[in-house]
Symmetry: C2
Subunit: 219 residues, 2 copies
DNA sequence: AATTAAATTTAGACAAATCTAAAAATAATT
DNA sequence: AATTATTTTTAGATTTGTCTAAATTTAATT
């Protein structure tokens, strides 16, 4: 028997939050990520622990087991392959595909995903610039740096963003900051974290906050 | 707020069973269709009736309201468009797509379905030969007759089947009876309902039961 | 028409996933 | 170290969809 939609979302959330400190993800962090209550998270952590998909200790936090990581990574693979399909094959825009892929990632069929991968010609990155794990769960890497780290005069290409909120992506689209765009840094003020840059021969201001979520491949 | 996965399946089941008598679908018929208990069906019928998606009278049966029919027809449209995608674009076989489409039909995004329809170039029939409702819910019709009605010497093309059980479809695939195939009737015994016909220059026997579920377009 | 059979509904219970409010454990501050 | 604040867990209730068993209604038979 497979996992429920909900269980899968918990595993994905834990994977997403696993980047931090010692790999232990807190109850509150998961609750925030999934917009649910801490009490609900505790219940589910027990359940996933019983299934040996996470290692969990009361009051300490949780981390994925190998089995849990395999499942979560496969979900990421499916999500990102579907995003490529939606943008590349169906012509949707960059900022409207996340919520649909969030549904499509739960479709159960390995044969379907293998064939989709083949049809799309084995893409390595999704439309937001994030790497797509292969069938064995391995990621490709690409040298990238947050836009906020660039110094005056440096140039590069937008390859992706770290957030996937629709509002944020729409905001960037309106400014012309979509993957593939060439940019050049004009001023990057170290004190008030305000940034000024050039895209498509137009000058643009950004907050340091926003800039730290835009990933650049240096030229 | 949209409907749940389960509610959608009930509406689809009622639509599927609506062909019969006076359009009233019985509790037991729905229970059999969905492999659930009659008691569960009764509960759900009340719920769908409260939402004005079906007209329901205790002990009498249920029928779809206009609103319910619209939703159910849209589900059928999504299911069949996805089947075309799976076969035509991803190269899956005729007999393995039903269960996957059963999941995909619940994905919520009108924009996605419109674009899929465009990408597939507005197909009118799915790989099993069933008509695909357009965005307004209208079906195309195609003159067709069950294989069991053909008389000796008549020829035609297989355009679809009535069943969608994987085992049944696999059985037909093995015999070479897939949509598009030209067939010619040899003998159709009115008494023991046994049929003999030619496909791909090979002779074949079929039971009347099986033949009545294979639809033919006469030449 | 009375009885039997079948279909349908009600009653009560259960599992999954969620919530709020209160209790317990851990972390931070004075 | 003692107190306060934060985080996490427990307790108990709720919703959705399901089930079995019993009661009721409708249909079929004798």
């Amino acid at each position: 028997m497979g996992l429920s939609y909900v269980e899968e979302n918990y595993l994905k959330a834990i994977l997403k939050l696993s980047g931090v400190p010692d790999g232990l993800v807190s109850t509150n962090a998961i609750a925030a990520q999934l917009s649910t209550s801490a009490a609900s998270v505790t219940d589910m952590l027990k359940k996933l622990s019983d299934k040996d998909l996470i290692a969990y200790q009361r009051y300490k936090g949780a981390s994925l087991t190998n089995a849990g990581q395999r499942i979560a990574t496969h979900l990421v693979r499916k999500h990102r392959l579907w995003e490529v399909f939606l943008v590349q094959t169906l012509g949707m825009t960059w900022d409207e595909v996340h919520d649909i892929a969030e549904q499509l990632e739960h479709i159960q069929s390995d044969s379907l995903i293998d064939r989709l991968d083949t049809f799309l010609e084995y893409p390595k990155f999704d439309p937001h610039g994030d790497p797509i794990p292969n069938a064995e769960g391995k990621y490709s890497v690409r040298a990238q740096v947050p836009l906020s780290k660039l110094t005056e005069g440096q140039q590069g290409i937008v390859i992706g963003v770290r957030e996937d909120e629709t509002a944020f992506l729409k905001h960037l689209s309106e400014k012309g900051l979509t993957p593939g765009k060439m940019i050049r840094m004009l001023t990057n003020d170290a004190y008030d974290h305000t940034i000024r840059l050039v895209v498509d021969d137009k000058e643009l201001n950004l907050s340091g906050q926003v800039a730290s979520n835009i990933m650049i491949k240096l030229k």
